[in-house]
Symmetry: C2
Subunit: 186 residues, 2 copies
């Protein structure tokens, strides 16, 4: 951020009065531009023993497999956003169920939230951001070809909970990788 | 948003190629300025039978009672943010426990997340944003003097879960009030 989005004046980065961390401040109009982590919302869409995954048609992680998920939009709830992303990426209609994972990814300023979901029918298809959409049994999950670590962690927790016969709600965080990776969602 | 925060050029509000909703777009440098809901994080700090509340020294809702909570900062996890807000607003040290509520407030573009927490000691005091900090038994909660509806809902759920002897994780959403209220957090 280099210019004030309210008045167009150049930004000064400083600690505002009464605050304790640096912010993008406009000394012309007085606006303080706060920046907050962004929620990413998605589902674990289930059909019997199988889970639906999407192969990404966009960067980052072009060609890798993901659960349907994306940035939450203003004016919607987390559940509505998860439903929307599932429809957009997989053209899949789901009944959104309980909150399953909330995974903090502080080094990229995101919080990933996944709900369990039941597919309502099998009329799914690749959306504009997907190359391919298909159902996977646990033994078929392409663990080495998953797009994001929050997706891998959510799937691991899902199959572990299913094996023990009880689904929980899991809060985790993911640290920055120790070696450089491609920029984008974790 | 009226000016591009990257280059200072006036913003055009339009639907970008490949998107399906209007965004603040810069036709000079090409930046699309996405806006996402903001996470608010806090705790339900418990000491035996009692819950700690803070009386607000700032607007909105000056003088009203709240659970310690505030906007999540970049670079922290939801749990770290909840711990920080509890320390800042109540000078209280807590052991942060399980996720308790996630409450969407779409009409003000926020998601409020509360963790259960145990006070480590009784050395709490008003922080800069609080007039007063004290412990309340359930019968003492100033229900008519609570600052935000997400706080009231979290407290109602807390006492209901405590009464039945089992704490869950609750996902709710709050609609816009039907009559005008003061601007600010729900």
């Amino acid at each position: 951020m280099r210019f004030c989005s309210h008045c167009g004046h150049p930004i000064t980065v400083r600690i505002p009065d009464g605050d304790n961390r640096t912010r993008a401040c406009c000394d012309a109009c007085g606006t303080i531009h706060y920046v907050n982590p962004r929620p990413v919302v998605g589902t674990v869409p289930v059909w019997g023993e199988q889970v639906l995954l999407c192969r990404r048609a966009i960067e980052p992680r072009y060609g890798k497999w993901t659960l349907p998920a994306g940035f939450m939009e203003v004016g919607e709830t987390t559940r509505e956003g998860a439903l929307r992303e599932t429809l957009e990426e997989a053209c899949a209609r789901v009944a959104v169920g309980p909150l399953f994972t909330m995974i903090d990814v502080p080094y990229i300023e995101q919080v990933h939230v996944f709900f369990r979901a039941e597919l309502i029918d099998l009329d799914f298809a690749p959306g504009e951001e997907s190359l391919e959409v298909r159902l996977f049994r646990e033994a078929e999950i392409p663990w080495q070809e998953l797009a994001f670590r929050t997706v891998a962690q959510t799937l691991r927790l899902f199959f572990a909970d299913r094996a023990r016969g009880a689904f929980g709600t899991h809060v985790h965080s993911i640290d920055a990788p120790t070696k450089p990776v491609q920029a984008g969602r974790s």
